[in-house]
């Protein structure tokens, strides 16, 4: 999954000389939280709606002419962050997610090799990509299959479902194992009646998670 497929192209941006009042208006009008600052096509900074609001006079204080003037005269360059964390269009969305998470920021400007602004990738865009990744791929039943963390086990499980029972696996997610020597694969199978699949997997020695009164999936070893 590439950043270029998920980013917003030609995002709303400001120049360093535009006023805070104008920048605030843009965030409101377009319902966005981040404005890249661009000079001659090149990214030179970023401001968030939060940065702008922090620079504004308190709405509780009586709005005097002087502070109003200040907001419409102060340029964005006075408050923008100049050290911008960016990402490239050919980078993976997974990397973008890691950057957003590690730096606790809300958006990444996407720039080309020359620092020119191509787009912006927000945390909402990243979340959207993951929702799609985790969601079912068409009508399906979801099973969790616990297996030993060693070569060939996943292939064996897929063989049981796909080759022996001819049931299509519409999506498969295998997070890295956290429980020592076992890991859990989450699969969506293209059938309304997964009883046979469950039975076959169990006879092949796999543990299958599926709502059950005896074992609580949310508290047990399930994913």
């Amino acid at each position: 999954m590439l950043v270029s497929k998920r980013m917003t192209r030609d995002p709303v941006a400001v120049s360093p000389g535009q006023s805070l009042a104008e920048a605030l208006r843009l965030t409101r009008e377009h319902r966005i939280r981040h404005l890249p600052v661009v000079e001659g096509g090149e990214l030179v900074g970023i401001v968030s709606d939060r940065d702008i609001r922090l620079a504004m006079p308190s709405p509780l204080a009586a709005g005097d002419a002087e502070s109003t003037a200040l907001v419409s005269e102060t340029p964005v360059s006075a408050i923008m962050a100049r050290e911008v964390i960016t990402i490239g269009p050919w980078d993976a969305v997974e990397d973008a997610a890691r950057l957003l998470h590690r730096h606790r920021i809300g958006a990444l400007p996407v720039v080309d090799a020359h620092g020119r602004l191509l787009g912006i990738l927000s945390e909402t865009d990243v979340l959207g990509a993951f929702v799609e990744l985790l969601g079912p791929a068409g009508a399906s039943s979801r099973l969790e299959v616990s297996m030993p963390d060693r070569a060939g086990e996943l292939a064996r499980a897929m063989h049981v479902v796909g080759d022996e029972l001819k049931v299509n696996v519409c999506s498969l997610l295998v997070p890295p194992g956290k429980h020592g020597d076992r890991r859990v694969a989450i699969l969506h199978v293209n059938t309304i009646d997964p009883r046979e699949v469950i039975q076959a997997l169990e006879s092949a020695g796999f543990e299958v998670g599926w709502p059950s009164l005896e074992t609580d999936l949310r508290r047990g070893g399930g994913a």
Binding site: H188, N190, P194, L213
Partner: protein, 392 residues
């Protein structure tokens, strides 16, 4: 007080049969009809049987693509099944069988007939017991369903009577096909109560599926937690349905009565008893009486505990529709007729006894989650319905 009502039935509809060991087994229809008859719930006049007709191509094409209908006809006639997967057919769930076009057109015609009888005023309520194929989509089959008898009947009601339709779906699986076909249509409001798609097929039916375009706010979903019991389910239903009705003001209700949410059903994890089905249809008929002249077009649907649950659940549905008190004792003649064939002991009472299920360990959590889901749906969806808050 019995109500003018029609049970649309002909033994020919049991030809909707994929293969002998398939879970969607038409034997359940024979079992249900014979129980309804044995209990004397058909009097030949007020509460009577009516024969289905065939759906025409034109009627099918009102909701299905020509390409799909042509493909079904081709497979049905024994033509090459190459590319069947594209149409969701030839799978373990929905295999191809000879004559599948004609028989599904008959099942669809049964539901059309049920709609005609109600819309013409000949009866107040009708029951197309073989219908309820709610997973069929515009251009493909899915989950045991080839054509959408429900959507075809709703489209017919819209075209011939310009009536506003409320579609209710109580099957344990999400009614994704019907929802999808009317997703952008504000004149058909779909409401599906089902086991959450977190695990269960088809994996959809979450609260945030609200419709699109003009139809935004006219697709409602209430996913229930696995192991939800009658109490929580009915509680939610009693709160939600009057509010939806109050805002939407339908002219007719079309209701899918899948009974696979019963605790004995092998395909799902809900824990309903027969009480749920008796109460649900009573509530539906009550609100229909108050807002849409009592007009209810009902169908069957899922239900895979074919010996122990389906005949009793659908007998109670028919009793509720036709306004007849259903005796509680299953007639001896019915038990004698079927017990030899049944792989399980047939129940002797129509209604499940009160407390024979082991208590659900997480009941409180399940009920709290269901209440949160209801609140989330009410908050997001109800204000989107045009008549909400008007008080009419």
């Amino acid at each position: 007080m019995s109500v003018p009502s029609a049970l649309v039935w002909d033994p020919a509809v049991t030809g909707y049969r994929f293969r002998p060991d398939h879970p969607f087994n038409p034997k359940r229809l024979d079992l249900s009809i014979s129980l309804i008859e044995a209990l004397g719930l058909l009097d030949g006049t007020t509460c009577r049987m009516e024969a289905p007709r065939m759906a025409t191509d034109e009627e099918l094409l009102a909701v299905h693509s020509r390409e799909y209908v042509d493909a079904v006809k081709r497979f049905s006639a024994g033509g090459s099944t190459d590319g069947a997967a594209r149409y969701g057919l030839g799978t373990d769930d929905t295999p191809i069988f000879p004559g599948m076009h004609d028989i599904t057109a008959l099942v669809t015609g049964a539901t059309l007939r049920a709609a005609e009888l109600v819309m013409s005023g000949e009866v107040k309520r009708s029951f197309s017991i073989a219908g309820g194929l709610h997973h069929a989509h515009h251009d493909r089959g899915s989950g045991f369903c080839v054509y959408s008898d429900l959507a075809v009947a709703i489209a017919w009601i819209r075209r011939e009577h310009q009536a506003r339709v409320l579609y209710l779906d109580y099957d344990a699986h999400h009614g994704d096909g019907v929802q999808g076909i009317f997703y952008a249509d504000p004149e058909v409001l779909t409401l599906s109560l089902h086991e959450s798609g977190r695990y269960l097929y088809p994996g959809t039916g979450f609260v945030d599926e609200l419709g699109e375009g003009e139809g935004y706010g006219y697709s409602l979903n209430l996913p229930l937690e696995p192991f939800t019991e009658d109490g929580s389910w009915l509680d939610i239903h009693r709160k939600l349905l009057p509010e939806v009705i109050e805002a939407y003001r339908p002219d007719v209700i079309v209701v899918q009565n899948g009974c696979d949410g019963h605790s004995l059903d092998p395909l799902t994890h809900l824990r309903a008893s027969t009480r749920l089905y008796e109460e649900t249809i009573r509530i539906v008929c009550e609100v229909a009486d108050s807002v849409c002249g009592g007009r209810v077009v009902a169908t069957g649907g899922g239900g895979y505990a074919i010996w122990q649950v389906v005949p009793r659940a659908w007998t109670l549905i028919w009793g509720g529709l036709s306004g007849q008190q259903v005796p509680n004792r299953v007639p001896r003649e019915w038990l004698d007729r079927w017990q030899g064939e049944a792989p399980v002991l047939l129940p002797e009472c129509v209604r499940d006894p009160g407390e024979d299920l082991a208590p659900v360990p997480r009941r409180e959590e399940i009920e709290a989650t269901n209440r949160r889901t209801l609140e989330s749906l009410r908050r997001q969806a109800l204000p989107l319905i045009r008549g909400y808050g008007l008080g009419w």
